[in-house]
Assembly symmetry: C2
Homo-oligomer: 297 residues x 2
Amino acid sequence: MTLEFKSWMQDVQARMEQTLKTVLPAADHLPSQLHTAMRYSVLDGGKRVRPLLAFAAGAVVDASPDRLQYVGAAVELIHAYSLVHDDMPAMDDDVLRRGKATCHIAFGEASALLAGDALQTAAFDILTSCTLADEPRDQLKMVNILARASGSLGMCGGQGVDLYSVGQALSLPELEQMHGLKTGALIRAAVMLASYCGVAISDEDRGRLDYYAQCIGLAFQVVDDVLDEEADSATLGKTAGKDAANNKPTYVSLLGLAAAKQKAAELKAEALAAIAPFGEKARGLVLLADFIVERTN
Amino acid sequence: MTLEFKSWMQDVQARMEQTLKTVLPAADHLPSQLHTAMRYSVLDGGKRVRPLLAFAAGAVVDASPDRLQYVGAAVELIHAYSLVHDDMPAMDDDVLRRGKATCHIAFGEASALLAGDALQTAAFDILTSCTLADEPRDQLKMVNILARASGSLGMCGGQGVDLYSVGQALSLPELEQMHGLKTGALIRAAVMLASYCGVAISDEDRGRLDYYAQCIGLAFQVVDDVLDEEADSATLGKTAGKDAANNKPTYVSLLGLAAAKQKAAELKAEALAAIAPFGEKARGLVLLADFIVERTN
Protein backbone atom coordinates (compact mmCIF):
# COMPACT_ATOMS: atom_id res chain seq x y z
CA MET A 1 0.00 0.00 0.00
CA THR A 2 1.50 3.34 -0.99
CA LEU A 3 1.73 6.06 1.59
CA GLU A 4 -0.40 8.28 -0.64
CA PHE A 5 -3.20 5.68 -0.79
CA LYS A 6 -3.00 4.95 2.92
CA SER A 7 -3.31 8.63 3.71
CA TRP A 8 -6.27 9.08 1.32
CA MET A 9 -7.99 6.04 2.79
CA GLN A 10 -7.51 7.22 6.34
CA ASP A 11 -8.84 10.65 5.42
CA VAL A 12 -12.01 9.16 3.92
CA GLN A 13 -12.43 6.77 6.85
CA ALA A 14 -12.06 9.61 9.36
CA ARG A 15 -14.50 11.76 7.40
CA MET A 16 -16.99 8.88 7.26
CA GLU A 17 -16.71 8.25 11.00
CA GLN A 18 -17.48 11.91 11.60
CA THR A 19 -20.38 11.91 9.13
CA LEU A 20 -21.89 8.75 10.57
CA LYS A 21 -21.58 10.17 14.09
CA THR A 22 -23.47 13.25 12.95
CA VAL A 23 -26.26 11.63 10.95
CA LEU A 24 -27.13 9.01 13.57
CA PRO A 25 -29.39 10.28 16.37
CA ALA A 26 -27.54 10.97 19.64
CA ALA A 27 -27.34 8.08 22.11
CA ASP A 28 -29.29 10.05 24.71
CA HIS A 29 -32.16 10.74 22.31
CA LEU A 30 -35.35 8.79 23.16
CA PRO A 31 -35.42 5.78 22.87
CA SER A 32 -31.82 5.87 24.01
CA GLN A 33 -31.34 2.09 24.11
CA LEU A 34 -32.26 1.93 20.43
CA HIS A 35 -29.99 4.79 19.44
CA THR A 36 -27.14 3.35 21.51
CA ALA A 37 -27.54 0.01 19.70
CA MET A 38 -27.63 1.76 16.31
CA ARG A 39 -24.45 3.74 17.01
CA TYR A 40 -22.70 0.68 18.44
CA SER A 41 -23.43 -1.26 15.24
CA VAL A 42 -22.11 1.42 12.89
CA LEU A 43 -19.42 3.51 14.55
CA ASP A 44 -15.81 2.62 15.21
CA GLY A 45 -15.66 -0.42 12.98
CA GLY A 46 -15.38 -1.71 9.47
CA LYS A 47 -13.10 -0.79 6.61
CA ARG A 48 -15.77 1.43 5.02
CA VAL A 49 -15.11 -0.23 1.68
CA ARG A 50 -18.38 1.02 0.17
CA PRO A 51 -17.83 4.67 1.16
CA LEU A 52 -14.23 4.39 -0.13
CA LEU A 53 -15.63 3.19 -3.46
CA ALA A 54 -18.11 6.06 -3.50
CA PHE A 55 -15.33 8.61 -2.92
CA ALA A 56 -13.09 7.02 -5.55
CA ALA A 57 -15.91 6.85 -8.12
CA GLY A 58 -16.99 10.37 -7.24
CA ALA A 59 -13.52 11.63 -8.20
CA VAL A 60 -14.18 10.48 -11.78
CA VAL A 61 -17.12 12.92 -12.01
CA ASP A 62 -15.54 15.66 -9.90
CA ALA A 63 -18.16 15.20 -7.19
CA SER A 64 -17.91 17.23 -4.00
CA PRO A 65 -16.83 15.32 -0.88
CA ASP A 66 -19.67 17.14 0.89
CA ARG A 67 -22.08 15.11 -1.21
CA LEU A 68 -20.09 11.89 -1.30
CA GLN A 69 -19.95 11.64 2.48
CA TYR A 70 -23.74 11.31 2.61
CA VAL A 71 -23.79 8.77 -0.21
CA GLY A 72 -21.13 6.83 1.69
CA ALA A 73 -23.13 7.09 4.91
CA ALA A 74 -26.37 5.88 3.30
CA VAL A 75 -24.71 2.85 1.73
CA GLU A 76 -22.76 2.08 4.91
CA LEU A 77 -25.95 2.16 6.99
CA ILE A 78 -27.62 -0.33 4.64
CA HIS A 79 -24.53 -2.53 4.97
CA ALA A 80 -24.55 -2.18 8.77
CA TYR A 81 -28.25 -3.01 9.06
CA SER A 82 -27.75 -6.16 6.99
CA LEU A 83 -24.90 -7.30 9.27
CA VAL A 84 -26.95 -6.69 12.42
CA HIS A 85 -29.85 -8.80 11.12
CA ASP A 86 -27.63 -11.40 9.47
CA ASP A 87 -25.83 -12.03 12.77
CA MET A 88 -29.07 -12.74 14.66
CA PRO A 89 -29.84 -16.25 15.94
CA ALA A 90 -32.55 -16.80 13.30
CA MET A 91 -29.94 -16.21 10.59
CA ASP A 92 -26.19 -16.82 11.04
CA ASP A 93 -26.27 -16.79 14.85
CA ASP A 94 -22.90 -15.11 15.16
CA VAL A 95 -21.43 -13.60 18.32
CA LEU A 96 -18.43 -11.71 16.95
CA ARG A 97 -18.32 -8.92 14.36
CA ARG A 98 -15.56 -6.42 13.67
CA GLY A 99 -13.80 -7.72 16.77
CA LYS A 100 -16.66 -6.98 19.16
CA ALA A 101 -19.86 -8.65 20.37
CA THR A 102 -22.61 -8.62 17.75
CA CYS A 103 -25.53 -6.26 18.34
CA HIS A 104 -27.97 -8.85 19.66
CA ILE A 105 -25.33 -10.20 22.08
CA ALA A 106 -24.65 -6.70 23.37
CA PHE A 107 -28.23 -5.35 23.44
CA GLY A 108 -30.62 -8.30 23.09
CA GLU A 109 -32.54 -9.58 20.09
CA ALA A 110 -35.41 -7.11 20.19
CA SER A 111 -33.04 -4.13 20.16
CA ALA A 112 -30.98 -5.68 17.36
CA LEU A 113 -34.12 -6.21 15.29
CA LEU A 114 -35.24 -2.61 15.77
CA ALA A 115 -31.73 -1.18 15.36
CA GLY A 116 -31.35 -2.94 12.00
CA ASP A 117 -34.77 -1.71 10.91
CA ALA A 118 -34.01 1.88 11.88
CA LEU A 119 -30.54 1.84 10.30
CA GLN A 120 -32.14 0.89 6.98
CA THR A 121 -34.63 3.74 7.28
CA ALA A 122 -31.86 6.16 8.22
CA ALA A 123 -30.13 5.43 4.91
CA PHE A 124 -33.13 6.72 2.98
CA ASP A 125 -33.48 9.66 5.31
CA ILE A 126 -29.88 10.71 4.69
CA LEU A 127 -30.20 10.32 0.94
CA THR A 128 -33.11 12.78 0.90
CA SER A 129 -32.10 15.27 3.59
CA CYS A 130 -29.90 17.53 1.50
CA THR A 131 -28.94 18.19 -2.10
CA LEU A 132 -26.75 15.39 -3.46
CA ALA A 133 -27.18 15.89 -7.22
CA ASP A 134 -27.57 19.00 -9.36
CA GLU A 135 -30.97 17.78 -10.58
CA PRO A 136 -33.60 16.60 -8.05
CA ARG A 137 -34.61 14.06 -10.70
CA ASP A 138 -31.13 12.50 -10.48
CA GLN A 139 -31.33 12.39 -6.72
CA LEU A 140 -34.66 10.54 -6.93
CA LYS A 141 -32.92 8.11 -9.26
CA MET A 142 -30.19 7.65 -6.62
CA VAL A 143 -32.77 6.73 -3.99
CA ASN A 144 -34.30 4.24 -6.41
CA ILE A 145 -30.91 2.69 -7.16
CA LEU A 146 -30.23 2.23 -3.46
CA ALA A 147 -33.67 0.70 -2.86
CA ARG A 148 -33.36 -1.73 -5.78
CA ALA A 149 -29.85 -2.72 -4.71
CA SER A 150 -30.91 -3.33 -1.10
CA GLY A 151 -34.26 -5.09 -1.45
CA SER A 152 -35.54 -8.55 -2.32
CA LEU A 153 -34.15 -8.30 -5.86
CA GLY A 154 -30.77 -7.16 -4.46
CA MET A 155 -28.90 -7.58 -1.20
CA CYS A 156 -31.80 -8.90 0.88
CA GLY A 157 -32.72 -11.34 -1.91
CA GLY A 158 -29.12 -12.55 -1.89
CA GLN A 159 -29.36 -13.23 1.83
CA GLY A 160 -32.51 -15.20 1.09
CA VAL A 161 -30.81 -17.28 -1.61
CA ASP A 162 -27.95 -17.87 0.83
CA LEU A 163 -30.36 -18.89 3.59
CA TYR A 164 -32.44 -21.23 1.46
CA SER A 165 -29.39 -22.89 -0.09
CA VAL A 166 -27.82 -24.09 3.16
CA GLY A 167 -26.96 -27.75 2.75
CA GLN A 168 -27.58 -27.60 -1.02
CA ALA A 169 -24.88 -28.01 -3.63
CA LEU A 170 -24.66 -24.69 -5.49
CA SER A 171 -23.04 -24.56 -8.91
CA LEU A 172 -20.49 -21.84 -9.64
CA PRO A 173 -23.04 -19.74 -11.61
CA GLU A 174 -25.53 -20.06 -8.73
CA LEU A 175 -22.86 -19.04 -6.24
CA GLU A 176 -21.99 -16.02 -8.40
CA GLN A 177 -25.64 -15.05 -8.68
CA MET A 178 -26.05 -15.27 -4.91
CA HIS A 179 -23.00 -13.11 -4.20
CA GLY A 180 -23.91 -10.73 -7.02
CA LEU A 181 -27.03 -9.99 -5.02
CA LYS A 182 -25.79 -10.39 -1.45
CA THR A 183 -22.60 -8.31 -1.68
CA GLY A 184 -22.32 -7.14 -5.27
CA ALA A 185 -25.55 -5.14 -5.54
CA LEU A 186 -24.66 -2.74 -2.74
CA ILE A 187 -21.08 -2.28 -3.94
CA ARG A 188 -22.43 -1.39 -7.38
CA ALA A 189 -24.90 0.99 -5.75
CA ALA A 190 -22.07 2.79 -3.92
CA VAL A 191 -20.33 3.46 -7.23
CA MET A 192 -23.52 4.25 -9.18
CA LEU A 193 -24.83 6.69 -6.57
CA ALA A 194 -21.54 8.56 -6.59
CA SER A 195 -21.69 8.78 -10.37
CA TYR A 196 -24.75 11.07 -10.08
CA CYS A 197 -23.13 13.48 -7.59
CA GLY A 198 -20.87 15.37 -9.98
CA VAL A 199 -20.79 16.45 -13.63
CA ALA A 200 -23.07 14.66 -16.07
CA ILE A 201 -21.49 11.66 -17.81
CA SER A 202 -22.50 9.50 -20.75
CA ASP A 203 -24.33 6.21 -20.34
CA GLU A 204 -21.24 4.52 -21.71
CA ASP A 205 -19.02 6.02 -19.03
CA ARG A 206 -21.54 5.14 -16.34
CA GLY A 207 -21.51 1.61 -17.75
CA ARG A 208 -17.72 1.52 -17.32
CA LEU A 209 -18.04 2.44 -13.67
CA ASP A 210 -20.78 -0.14 -13.23
CA TYR A 211 -18.68 -2.87 -14.83
CA TYR A 212 -15.74 -1.98 -12.60
CA ALA A 213 -18.04 -2.23 -9.58
CA GLN A 214 -19.41 -5.60 -10.68
CA CYS A 215 -15.94 -7.08 -11.06
CA ILE A 216 -14.69 -5.60 -7.81
CA GLY A 217 -17.79 -6.75 -5.94
CA LEU A 218 -17.25 -10.31 -7.06
CA ALA A 219 -13.51 -10.13 -6.39
CA PHE A 220 -14.29 -8.86 -2.90
CA GLN A 221 -16.32 -12.00 -2.20
CA VAL A 222 -13.76 -14.36 -3.72
CA VAL A 223 -11.08 -12.80 -1.49
CA ASP A 224 -13.44 -13.11 1.49
CA ASP A 225 -13.69 -16.84 0.86
CA VAL A 226 -9.93 -17.16 0.49
CA LEU A 227 -9.35 -15.27 3.73
CA ASP A 228 -12.01 -17.33 5.50
CA GLU A 229 -10.04 -20.43 4.48
CA GLU A 230 -6.61 -19.08 5.37
CA ALA A 231 -6.94 -16.63 8.23
CA ASP A 232 -7.79 -17.01 11.89
CA SER A 233 -10.58 -15.23 13.78
CA ALA A 234 -8.28 -12.71 15.46
CA THR A 235 -7.07 -11.36 12.11
CA LEU A 236 -10.56 -11.41 10.54
CA GLY A 237 -12.39 -9.85 13.48
CA LYS A 238 -15.18 -12.37 12.93
CA THR A 239 -15.55 -16.12 13.32
CA ALA A 240 -13.28 -17.81 10.76
CA GLY A 241 -14.03 -21.01 8.89
CA LYS A 242 -17.77 -20.68 9.51
CA ASP A 243 -18.89 -21.24 5.94
CA ALA A 244 -16.90 -24.45 5.64
CA ALA A 245 -18.17 -25.62 9.03
CA ASN A 246 -21.75 -24.92 7.87
CA ASN A 247 -21.18 -26.76 4.61
CA LYS A 248 -21.85 -23.54 2.71
CA PRO A 249 -20.40 -23.50 -0.79
CA THR A 250 -17.55 -20.99 -1.30
CA TYR A 251 -15.29 -20.09 -4.18
CA VAL A 252 -12.54 -22.04 -2.45
CA SER A 253 -14.68 -25.15 -1.98
CA LEU A 254 -15.83 -25.04 -5.62
CA LEU A 255 -12.59 -23.92 -7.32
CA GLY A 256 -9.82 -24.77 -4.90
CA LEU A 257 -7.56 -22.19 -3.24
CA ALA A 258 -5.16 -21.52 -6.11
CA ALA A 259 -7.90 -21.09 -8.73
CA ALA A 260 -9.88 -18.85 -6.41
CA LYS A 261 -6.84 -16.57 -6.01
CA GLN A 262 -6.38 -16.62 -9.77
CA LYS A 263 -10.02 -15.66 -10.27
CA ALA A 264 -9.66 -12.66 -7.94
CA ALA A 265 -6.64 -11.47 -9.93
CA GLU A 266 -8.52 -11.83 -13.23
CA LEU A 267 -11.52 -9.91 -11.94
CA LYS A 268 -9.23 -7.12 -10.83
CA ALA A 269 -7.67 -6.95 -14.29
CA GLU A 270 -11.12 -6.74 -15.90
CA ALA A 271 -12.14 -3.99 -13.51
CA LEU A 272 -9.05 -1.96 -14.29
CA ALA A 273 -9.48 -2.38 -18.04
CA ALA A 274 -13.02 -1.00 -17.81
CA ILE A 275 -11.94 2.26 -16.16
CA ALA A 276 -8.66 2.73 -18.05
CA PRO A 277 -10.19 5.45 -20.31
CA PHE A 278 -10.75 7.69 -17.27
CA GLY A 279 -6.98 8.00 -16.81
CA GLU A 280 -5.72 9.82 -13.76
CA LYS A 281 -9.22 10.60 -12.45
CA ALA A 282 -9.74 6.89 -11.76
CA ARG A 283 -6.58 6.63 -9.70
CA GLY A 284 -8.53 6.03 -6.49
CA LEU A 285 -10.51 3.23 -8.12
CA VAL A 286 -7.29 1.59 -9.30
CA LEU A 287 -5.67 1.73 -5.89
CA LEU A 288 -8.88 0.49 -4.24
CA ALA A 289 -8.98 -2.51 -6.57
CA ASP A 290 -5.46 -3.37 -5.39
CA PHE A 291 -6.43 -2.87 -1.79
CA ILE A 292 -9.57 -5.03 -2.01
CA VAL A 293 -7.83 -7.91 -3.75
CA GLU A 294 -4.61 -7.80 -1.71
CA ARG A 295 -6.19 -7.26 1.74
CA THR A 296 -5.54 -9.69 4.60
CA ASN A 297 -8.74 -9.13 6.60
CA MET B 1 -71.71 3.58 7.41
CA THR B 2 -73.37 5.13 4.37
CA LEU B 3 -73.63 3.11 1.19
CA GLU B 4 -71.67 5.83 -0.61
CA PHE B 5 -68.77 5.58 1.88
CA LYS B 6 -68.82 1.80 1.88
CA SER B 7 -68.64 1.74 -1.89
CA TRP B 8 -65.77 4.29 -1.96
CA MET B 9 -63.87 2.35 0.68
CA GLN B 10 -64.26 -0.93 -1.16
CA ASP B 11 -63.11 0.70 -4.39
CA VAL B 12 -59.95 2.00 -2.75
CA GLN B 13 -59.32 -1.31 -0.98
CA ALA B 14 -59.72 -3.25 -4.25
CA ARG B 15 -57.45 -0.81 -6.06
CA MET B 16 -54.85 -1.12 -3.30
CA GLU B 17 -54.98 -4.91 -3.39
CA GLN B 18 -54.34 -4.77 -7.12
CA THR B 19 -51.53 -2.22 -6.74
CA LEU B 20 -49.84 -4.19 -3.98
CA LYS B 21 -50.09 -7.38 -6.04
CA THR B 22 -48.37 -5.58 -8.90
CA VAL B 23 -45.59 -3.81 -7.01
CA LEU B 24 -44.52 -6.85 -4.99
CA PRO B 25 -42.23 -9.28 -6.84
CA ALA B 26 -44.00 -12.43 -8.10
CA ALA B 27 -43.99 -15.41 -5.73
CA ASP B 28 -42.03 -17.50 -8.22
CA HIS B 29 -39.27 -14.89 -8.54
CA LEU B 30 -36.00 -15.97 -6.91
CA PRO B 31 -35.80 -16.26 -3.92
CA SER B 32 -39.35 -17.50 -4.06
CA GLN B 33 -39.66 -18.35 -0.36
CA LEU B 34 -38.86 -14.72 0.47
CA HIS B 35 -41.29 -13.31 -2.08
CA THR B 36 -43.99 -15.73 -0.96
CA ALA B 37 -43.53 -14.58 2.63
CA MET B 38 -43.63 -10.92 1.56
CA ARG B 39 -46.86 -11.36 -0.41
CA TYR B 40 -48.43 -13.40 2.40
CA SER B 41 -47.72 -10.62 4.89
CA VAL B 42 -49.22 -7.86 2.77
CA LEU B 43 -51.95 -9.20 0.47
CA ASP B 44 -55.48 -10.16 1.34
CA GLY B 45 -55.57 -8.56 4.75
CA GLY B 46 -55.96 -5.40 6.73
CA LYS B 47 -58.34 -2.50 6.45
CA ARG B 48 -55.83 -0.40 4.48
CA VAL B 49 -56.54 2.53 6.79
CA ARG B 50 -53.37 4.37 5.75
CA PRO B 51 -54.05 4.11 2.00
CA LEU B 52 -57.66 5.15 2.64
CA LEU B 53 -56.33 8.24 4.42
CA ALA B 54 -53.98 8.94 1.51
CA PHE B 55 -56.83 8.75 -1.00
CA ALA B 56 -59.10 10.92 1.15
CA ALA B 57 -56.37 13.52 1.72
CA GLY B 58 -55.41 13.39 -1.95
CA ALA B 59 -58.95 14.43 -2.87
CA VAL B 60 -58.37 17.73 -1.06
CA VAL B 61 -55.55 18.57 -3.51
CA ASP B 62 -57.19 16.96 -6.59
CA ALA B 63 -54.44 14.32 -6.74
CA SER B 64 -54.67 11.57 -9.32
CA PRO B 65 -55.54 8.09 -8.01
CA ASP B 66 -52.73 6.82 -10.26
CA ARG B 67 -50.32 8.60 -7.93
CA LEU B 68 -52.16 7.98 -4.69
CA GLN B 69 -52.17 4.22 -5.17
CA TYR B 70 -48.37 4.20 -5.01
CA VAL B 71 -48.31 6.46 -1.98
CA GLY B 72 -50.82 4.12 -0.36
CA ALA B 73 -48.72 1.10 -1.29
CA ALA B 74 -45.51 2.58 0.09
CA VAL B 75 -47.08 3.47 3.41
CA GLU B 76 -48.88 0.12 3.63
CA LEU B 77 -45.62 -1.77 3.04
CA ILE B 78 -43.94 0.13 5.88
CA HIS B 79 -46.92 -0.75 8.08
CA ALA B 80 -46.80 -4.41 7.00
CA TYR B 81 -43.05 -4.69 7.65
CA SER B 82 -43.49 -3.28 11.14
CA LEU B 83 -46.20 -5.86 11.89
CA VAL B 84 -44.07 -8.76 10.63
CA HIS B 85 -41.13 -7.77 12.85
CA ASP B 86 -43.31 -6.74 15.81
CA ASP B 87 -44.97 -10.19 15.84
CA MET B 88 -41.63 -12.02 16.06
CA PRO B 89 -40.65 -13.92 19.23
CA ALA B 90 -38.03 -11.34 20.19
CA MET B 91 -40.76 -8.65 20.22
CA ASP B 92 -44.46 -9.36 20.87
CA ASP B 93 -44.24 -13.09 20.09
CA ASP B 94 -47.68 -13.21 18.49
CA VAL B 95 -49.10 -16.10 16.45
CA LEU B 96 -52.23 -14.53 14.96
CA ARG B 97 -52.53 -11.44 12.72
CA ARG B 98 -55.42 -10.40 10.52
CA GLY B 99 -57.02 -13.77 11.23
CA LYS B 100 -54.11 -15.85 9.93
CA ALA B 101 -50.83 -17.20 11.25
CA THR B 102 -48.15 -14.53 11.65
CA CYS B 103 -45.32 -14.54 9.11
CA HIS B 104 -42.71 -16.23 11.31
CA ILE B 105 -45.21 -18.95 12.25
CA ALA B 106 -46.00 -19.60 8.59
CA PHE B 107 -42.47 -19.24 7.14
CA GLY B 108 -39.99 -19.37 10.02
CA GLU B 109 -38.12 -16.60 11.80
CA ALA B 110 -35.35 -16.09 9.26
CA SER B 111 -37.84 -15.58 6.42
CA ALA B 112 -39.92 -13.22 8.55
CA LEU B 113 -36.84 -11.17 9.38
CA LEU B 114 -35.86 -10.89 5.70
CA ALA B 115 -39.44 -10.37 4.50
CA GLY B 116 -39.87 -7.45 6.89
CA ASP B 117 -36.53 -6.00 5.79
CA ALA B 118 -37.40 -6.27 2.11
CA LEU B 119 -40.91 -4.87 2.58
CA GLN B 120 -39.40 -1.75 4.08
CA THR B 121 -37.02 -1.38 1.16
CA ALA B 122 -39.86 -1.96 -1.32
CA ALA B 123 -41.67 1.07 0.10
CA PHE B 124 -38.78 3.34 -0.88
CA ASP B 125 -38.48 1.63 -4.24
CA ILE B 126 -42.15 2.30 -5.03
CA LEU B 127 -41.94 5.91 -3.92
CA THR B 128 -39.14 6.56 -6.42
CA SER B 129 -40.16 4.35 -9.36
CA CYS B 130 -42.54 6.73 -11.12
CA THR B 131 -43.63 10.36 -11.01
CA LEU B 132 -45.74 11.06 -7.93
CA ALA B 133 -45.47 14.85 -7.71
CA ASP B 134 -45.27 17.57 -10.35
CA GLU B 135 -41.89 18.66 -9.04
CA PRO B 136 -39.11 16.08 -8.46
CA ARG B 137 -38.10 18.22 -5.48
CA ASP B 138 -41.49 17.56 -3.89
CA GLN B 139 -41.17 13.85 -4.52
CA LEU B 140 -37.78 13.85 -2.77
CA LYS B 141 -39.49 15.60 0.12
CA MET B 142 -42.10 12.80 0.16
CA VAL B 143 -39.38 10.16 0.46
CA ASN B 144 -37.84 12.12 3.31
CA ILE B 145 -41.18 12.42 5.10
CA LEU B 146 -41.72 8.67 4.86
CA ALA B 147 -38.20 7.94 6.12
CA ARG B 148 -38.51 10.30 9.08
CA ALA B 149 -41.94 8.92 9.96
CA SER B 150 -40.73 5.31 9.83
CA GLY B 151 -37.32 5.46 11.50
CA SER B 152 -35.92 5.69 15.00
CA LEU B 153 -37.46 9.14 15.51
CA GLY B 154 -40.82 7.87 14.24
CA MET B 155 -42.56 4.50 14.08
CA CYS B 156 -39.54 2.35 14.87
CA GLY B 157 -38.64 4.63 17.76
CA GLY B 158 -42.18 4.23 19.08
CA GLN B 159 -41.77 0.47 19.02
CA GLY B 160 -38.56 0.96 20.98
CA VAL B 161 -40.26 3.12 23.60
CA ASP B 162 -43.01 0.49 23.82
CA LEU B 163 -40.46 -2.30 24.19
CA TYR B 164 -38.36 -0.58 26.83
CA SER B 165 -41.39 0.50 28.87
CA VAL B 166 -42.77 -3.00 29.47
CA GLY B 167 -43.47 -3.33 33.17
CA GLN B 168 -43.00 0.43 33.72
CA ALA B 169 -45.78 2.78 34.71
CA LEU B 170 -46.21 5.25 31.84
CA SER B 171 -47.96 8.52 32.45
CA LEU B 172 -50.66 9.67 30.00
CA PRO B 173 -48.28 12.12 28.25
CA GLU B 174 -45.67 9.35 27.91
CA LEU B 175 -48.29 6.98 26.51
CA GLU B 176 -49.37 9.63 24.00
CA GLN B 177 -45.78 10.27 22.97
CA MET B 178 -45.22 6.53 22.44
CA HIS B 179 -48.33 6.14 20.30
CA GLY B 180 -47.64 9.40 18.48
CA LEU B 181 -44.47 7.71 17.26
CA LYS B 182 -45.56 4.08 16.99
CA THR B 183 -48.84 4.58 15.11
CA GLY B 184 -49.29 8.30 14.67
CA ALA B 185 -46.18 9.10 12.65
CA LEU B 186 -47.04 6.77 9.78
CA ILE B 187 -50.69 7.89 9.69
CA ARG B 188 -49.49 11.49 9.45
CA ALA B 189 -47.07 10.45 6.71
CA ALA B 190 -49.90 8.89 4.67
CA VAL B 191 -51.78 12.19 4.72
CA MET B 192 -48.71 14.38 4.22
CA LEU B 193 -47.40 12.35 1.28
CA ALA B 194 -50.77 12.58 -0.46
CA SER B 195 -50.77 16.35 0.06
CA TYR B 196 -47.79 16.63 -2.33
CA CYS B 197 -49.42 14.59 -5.13
CA GLY B 198 -51.83 17.19 -6.44
CA VAL B 199 -52.08 20.96 -6.78
CA ALA B 200 -49.84 23.12 -4.64
CA ILE B 201 -51.33 24.18 -1.31
CA SER B 202 -50.34 26.68 1.36
CA ASP B 203 -48.37 25.72 4.44
CA GLU B 204 -51.44 26.63 6.45
CA ASP B 205 -53.62 24.18 4.54
CA ARG B 206 -50.98 21.48 4.81
CA GLY B 207 -50.90 22.18 8.54
CA ARG B 208 -54.67 21.59 8.66
CA LEU B 209 -54.26 18.20 7.05
CA ASP B 210 -51.41 17.40 9.40
CA TYR B 211 -53.44 18.33 12.47
CA TYR B 212 -56.35 16.20 11.24
CA ALA B 213 -53.92 13.28 10.83
CA GLN B 214 -52.43 13.78 14.30
CA CYS B 215 -55.86 13.72 15.95
CA ILE B 216 -57.07 10.76 13.90
CA GLY B 217 -53.86 8.84 14.55
CA LEU B 218 -54.27 9.24 18.28
CA ALA B 219 -58.00 8.45 18.10
CA PHE B 220 -57.14 5.31 16.16
CA GLN B 221 -54.97 4.09 19.04
CA VAL B 222 -57.47 5.01 21.73
CA VAL B 223 -60.14 3.03 19.85
CA ASP B 224 -57.66 0.14 19.50
CA ASP B 225 -57.26 0.05 23.26
CA VAL B 226 -61.02 0.19 23.78
CA LEU B 227 -61.55 -2.66 21.32
CA ASP B 228 -58.74 -4.67 22.90
CA GLU B 229 -60.60 -4.36 26.21
CA GLU B 230 -64.07 -5.14 24.84
CA ALA B 231 -63.72 -7.44 21.86
CA ASP B 232 -62.73 -11.07 21.50
CA SER B 233 -59.93 -12.43 19.28
CA ALA B 234 -62.31 -13.70 16.58
CA THR B 235 -63.69 -10.20 15.95
CA LEU B 236 -60.27 -8.51 16.18
CA GLY B 237 -58.41 -11.01 14.00
CA LYS B 238 -55.55 -10.84 16.49
CA THR B 239 -54.98 -11.91 20.08
CA ALA B 240 -57.27 -9.85 22.33
CA GLY B 241 -56.46 -8.60 25.81
CA LYS B 242 -52.72 -8.99 25.22
CA ASP B 243 -51.70 -5.54 26.44
CA ALA B 244 -53.55 -5.97 29.71
CA ALA B 245 -52.10 -9.46 30.14
CA ASN B 246 -48.61 -8.05 29.55
CA ASN B 247 -49.22 -5.22 32.01
CA LYS B 248 -48.76 -2.71 29.20
CA PRO B 249 -50.35 0.65 29.91
CA THR B 250 -53.31 1.53 27.64
CA TYR B 251 -55.70 4.45 27.40
CA VAL B 252 -58.30 2.23 29.06
CA SER B 253 -56.02 1.25 31.94
CA LEU B 254 -55.01 4.89 32.50
CA LEU B 255 -58.34 6.64 31.85
CA GLY B 256 -61.02 3.99 32.30
CA LEU B 257 -63.31 2.75 29.53
CA ALA B 258 -65.84 5.60 29.51
CA ALA B 259 -63.23 8.37 29.51
CA ALA B 260 -61.24 6.61 26.76
CA LYS B 261 -64.36 6.55 24.57
CA GLN B 262 -64.96 10.19 25.36
CA LYS B 263 -61.37 11.03 24.39
CA ALA B 264 -61.77 9.31 21.02
CA ALA B 265 -64.90 11.35 20.34
CA GLU B 266 -63.14 14.60 21.28
CA LEU B 267 -60.18 13.83 19.04
CA LYS B 268 -62.55 13.19 16.15
CA ALA B 269 -64.26 16.54 16.72
CA GLU B 270 -60.87 18.32 16.71
CA ALA B 271 -59.87 16.54 13.52
CA LEU B 272 -63.07 17.58 11.77
CA ALA B 273 -62.76 21.19 12.91
CA ALA B 274 -59.26 21.38 11.38
CA ILE B 275 -60.43 20.36 7.91
CA ALA B 276 -63.78 22.15 7.91
CA PRO B 277 -62.45 24.95 5.64
CA PHE B 278 -61.87 22.43 2.84
CA GLY B 279 -65.64 21.87 2.56
CA GLU B 280 -66.88 19.18 0.22
CA LYS B 281 -63.36 18.18 -0.90
CA ALA B 282 -62.66 16.84 2.58
CA ARG B 283 -65.76 14.63 2.55
CA GLY B 284 -63.65 11.46 2.44
CA LEU B 285 -61.61 12.60 5.44
CA VAL B 286 -64.80 13.32 7.39
CA LEU B 287 -66.29 9.91 6.64
CA LEU B 288 -62.99 8.19 7.43
CA ALA B 289 -62.84 9.90 10.81
CA ASP B 290 -66.28 8.43 11.54
CA PHE B 291 -65.18 5.04 10.33
CA ILE B 292 -61.99 4.97 12.39
CA VAL B 293 -63.65 6.04 15.61
CA GLU B 294 -66.81 3.91 15.22
CA ARG B 295 -65.12 0.70 13.97
CA THR B 296 -65.56 -2.58 15.83
CA ASN B 297 -62.33 -4.30 14.75
